[in-house]
Subunit: 234 residues, 2 copies
């Protein structure tokens, strides 16, 4: 009696590589867990003890300098995989931005299972290669883009990823228009983009004055002209 059958990410997470029998075997070593917004699942620098699939919600991956500056190095959405399989320490913490539901495994159990299921490892490899591509694209943003370009790129990427993720807090109103409930505070957006909170705030008011977005509340953004954002993303 696997509850994977009911899992909403069943066909998009790495589990999609498994048949019913394999799935129920994996299910015996995993369990679902709810995480409230702000709660951490993994801490930077600790030995890798658990890995997980995201079922619901949005989480951040982040590192800090010794003196407390933070950089968010990744954002994960439903069906994404988190944690560091195959030994090693995790170089970044994992913290929920919204209330979330994840399917966790002890790293040792997962490692052992994966080594016996090449199709699962293959899926994980494809996912990791994709994540590496995405991360490298983000480096161009961090190293070479202006604050305006960063904000535009940020909003565009978030919308793209939410559009591809059922159950996310986004409304597709028209091809060029979206209504999003942000999973980020202003500070967190700053930590994604390598900016300060003040600069993020000023960019938001600029985009609003230019009629590209509307900001009904702190956590809501209405994108009025997605094409303009794409153009500005550089």
């Amino acid at each position: 009696m696997s509850n994977c059958d009911l899992c909403v990410v069943r066909n998009r997470a790495i589990c999609a590589s498994l048949d019913a029998k394999e799935l129920s075997a994996l299910n015996t070593v995993g369990r679902t867990r709810n995480v409230v917004a702000g709660e951490s699942l993994i801490w930077e620098g600790e030995d890798s003890v658990l890995v997980a699939n995201v079922i619901e919600g949005v989480l951040k991956l982040s590192t800090n300098t010794e003196d407390g500056r933070e950089q968010i190095v990744g954002v994960v959405y439903p069906s994404d995989f988190i944690g560091r399989p195959f030994g090693g320490t995790t170089g970044h913490g994992v913290t929920a931005l919204t209330d979330a539901k994840v399917c966790v495994f002890s790293r040792r159990d997962f490692d052992a299972f994966a080594r016996e299921h090449p199709a699962l490892e293959h899926k994980l490899l494809e996912r990791t290669l994709g994540e590496l591509d995405r991360t490298r694209r983000w480096m161009l943003l961090l190293g070479r883009k202006s604050a305006g370009e960063k904000m535009a790129s940020f909003l565009v990427e978030m919308v793209e990823r939410m559009d591809n993720t059922a159950g996310c807090a986004i409304r597709f109103e028209q091809p060029n228009r979206r209504h999003v409930t942000l999973p980020f505070s202003r500070q967190q957006i700053a930590d994604v983009l390598g900016l300060t909170i003040e600069t993020v705030s000023r960019q938001f008011t600029r985009l609003k004055n230019e009629g590209i977005v509307d900001l009904p509340s702190r956590r809501e953004v209405v994108i009025l002209d997605l094409d303009a954002l794409v153009a500005e993303a550089g």
Copy 2:
């Protein structure tokens, strides 16, 4: 008659997962190729047609904005893997920084071979996970570190990776001291760090004035106090 037996990276590249028979099978679809400094092996945005192992030399992975700003998103050393297996377009170009020797495969051949050799895919997965960790650590540098911290971090990382790579242009003189022949021009260092060439130059002269490095020539750096660099890397 596989020439893999003579390969200097045989035991460190992903090929280490293969036995003699498998290796010779892989060898029939691969060939070595020399690349001169400045030559590109893969272009940004093209369909992924080839993958390779680095045997000798140093290469950069880079992306550009439409208006020509460049960001180096990775640097690869002997035994590292390059290219994007399993479909997709390559998000970054690959260009030799020094004369280099690589072992290239058509992506299609490599994909097919890999899918039949889970041990190879496993090695590739471990390598990709490690590369992702390294890349994410670099995001902290790009997003949150000052020019001084960036330069120090850059030199420390380069030295660490060269120390672990036989045949690199580095002399280990004392635990706290190294003599390196840079595979990078000043502009390339700037493109790694998200700085301008002038800022890189000024940081070099500062480090020299502070007695942390010596600069006998454009392409040589003598690190006189590695601990100081580590401390300054933040």
